[in-house]
């Protein structure tokens, strides 16, 4: 049965020279697809996690008493929101990396401690984090000032108010926009291929450059994979949204 399926794809490849599903009948190409998918998943999880952390801390800093802190966050948002993520990736990897500490395994190579995958995570998290800060700010401003004043009257410090009262309420308001941004982030991880991060798009390009007949099937794989990945993320976020719902607040 399995052999019959493999033979079907081999026949399809010989009848239609642009529809070679090579990863289905060639083990080394299958391994490339799987490893690319795995790197994409790891990259997405790391970036989603880090960017949400940046968002939470960033929006806390936006309400800070210190003008320096507020200016710092404003500057960070302007820089990372106004520049294309592609350019940010190139800048971090080529322009900044030589200034970071590196070691030499053989006396000539300079291997930076932060690899290209590391730079991709840093760059993409900071990019999405800038958007998240603004998304959380929308939620923070939705919390009524009377509630915050009441908390202040009860003796909470500013940080305690943020942590125990404002953030839980703000999160519920920001979730739809946050969901949007995280979906965008998962798709933006494809841009890491430009600094040779071996994620799914990079592996697909390798496969279809070695085997031009496999280009159309690889594009189908890309579409299906990202649909599935984003679908899982959205399902998770919707579950979370439903779990956090407070009756009478929002939906």
């Amino acid at each position: 049965m399995f052999e019959a399926l493999l033979n079907f794809f081999r026949d399809l490849a010989s009848d239609h020279p642009t529809w070679n599903f090579i990863f289905l009948h060639d083990a080394s190409q299958w391994n490339k697809v799987v490893s690319g998918l795995w790197v994409t998943i790891k990259l997405s999880v790391a970036c989603v996690f880090l960017s949400v952390i940046i968002g939470i801390f960033g929006s806390a800093m936006q309400g800070a008493e210190s003008a320096i802190l507020r200016a710092l966050v404003a500057g960070y948002i302007q820089f990372f929101r106004n520049t294309p993520p592609f350019v940010q990736l190139l800048f971090f990897y080529f322009a900044l990396a030589p200034f970071t500490p590196s070691y030499s395994p053989d006396g000539w190579l300079e291997v930076p401690y932060i690899s290209n995958v590391g730079w991709a995570i840093i760059s993409l998290s900071m990019f999405a984090g800038a958007f998240n800060v603004e998304i959380f700010r929308a939620g923070v401003e939705a919390v009524p000032t009377s509630t915050q004043e009441a908390a202040s009257a009860l003796g909470y410090t500013r940080l305690q108010i943020y942590r125990y009262i404002v953030l839980p309420l703000a999160l519920r308001v920001s979730l739809p926009a946050l969901n949007n941004n995280l979906v965008n982030l998962v798709k933006t991880t494809t841009q890491a291929f430009v600094i040779a991060v071996p994620e799914l798009l990079y592996q697909s390009i390798t496969i279809w450059n070695d085997h031009p007949s496999a280009q159309n099937p690889m594009m189908v794989v890309l579409f299906v994979s990202y649909l599935a990945l984003v679908g899982v993320l959205v399902l998770g976020m919707n579950r979370w949204e439903r779990g956090m719902r407070i009756p009478g607040y929002g939906g």
Binding site: P17, T18, F94, W108, E110, A196, P212
Partner: protein, 278 residues
């Protein structure tokens, strides 16, 4: 009996029709379109000095651009030069965005199934490594397990990985890959020996060289749309290539663009030598 004969006649006609369509009829669509429009669109490289690159004023120049212009002059049409990349040159030709492709493409079997590659091949080159002199490489085995920069799309990336166990880090463009080499992120840049020679000749690569023996000599091919391969356009381009090789036009272009003279062109000129020529 009548029915039987009628049936026999019907099947004979049907078979005849099938046989007629089985013999390929050239429709010469692209050729006719080019001649009617009075313009040919040629895809060339924009980042492969000196075959196709941008001069300081932004226009596309190079050996292959000169070849394309000669094709347009011979046809008596205007020329429209379009920059293509390794990753999209065949697709552009397939989709009709370009009519002819002369873009430093290596002649490979699976590429022949997609675009109309016609001979005789006008050039050839092999794989080599742009490496720093300080590393004292003498043979390919020395790169085993080491990071090697490459360009996404080159067919020899996987050959180098499989054969010598190098770890190929492939970037989207030559510029990024070479920059990574300068930043010491890899021990060499695996690429076409003709391009590496051009880089070394440019003088920007002090301290670098091409120490390895060239491997996997692979002829280059230009391409017409697949449907035109055995029709007028394909035959015409074969004729152009034959004449370029025979009368030494390519050798002159080599000299004009500062490319190291290759024995391939000299051999081909000898091979196609006119028997009456003195």
């Amino acid at each position: 009996m009548k029915k039987f004969i009628a049936g026999l006649a019907a099947s004979a006609i049907a078979l005849g029709a099938v046989a007629a369509t089985a013999a390929e009829q050239c429709t010469n669509d692209v050729w006719n379109k080019v001649m009617q429009r009075g313009k040919i669109v040629v895809g060339v490289k924009a980042d492969y000095k000196p075959w196709g690159y941008r001069s300081s004023d932004g226009s596309l120049v190079g050996m292959e651009i000169d070849m394309a212009r000669e094709v347009a002059d011979t046809l008596g049409v205007e020329i429209d030069i379009v920059a293509v990349q390794s990753s999209n040159r065949m697709q552009f030709l397939e989709q009709g965005k370009i009519d002819l492709m002369i873009a430093t493409m290596s002649d490979r079997k699976d590429r022949r199934a997609i675009v109309g590659i016609v001979g005789p091949n006008y050039y050839t080159s092999g794989t080599n490594l742009l490496a720093p002199d300080a590393l004292n490489f003498t043979e390919w085995e020395q790169i085993r397990g080491k990071p090697v920069c490459g360009k996404q799309g080159a067919f020899y990336n996987q050959i180098v990985e499989k054969r010598y166990g190098a770890v190929v880090i492939a970037f989207t463009g030559n510029a990024e890959a070479k920059q990574a080499l300068r930043d010491k992120k890899c021990i060499g840049f695996v690429y076409d020996d003709s391009s590496i020679m051009a880089d070394l000749a440019s003088g920007n690569w002090e301290g670098f060289g091409m120490p390895m023996p060239t491997e996997d000599d692979n002829p280059w091919a230009l391409a017409v749309p697949k449907a035109e391969q055995n029709c007028v356009f394909g035959r015409f381009m074969s004729g152009m290539q034959y004449n370029w090789l025979k009368d030494g036009t390519l050798i002159e272009l080599e000299a004009k663009w500062g490319i190291q003279p290759t024995s391939f062109l000299a051999t081909q000129k000898e091979r196609f030598k006119d028997w009456l020529e003195e």
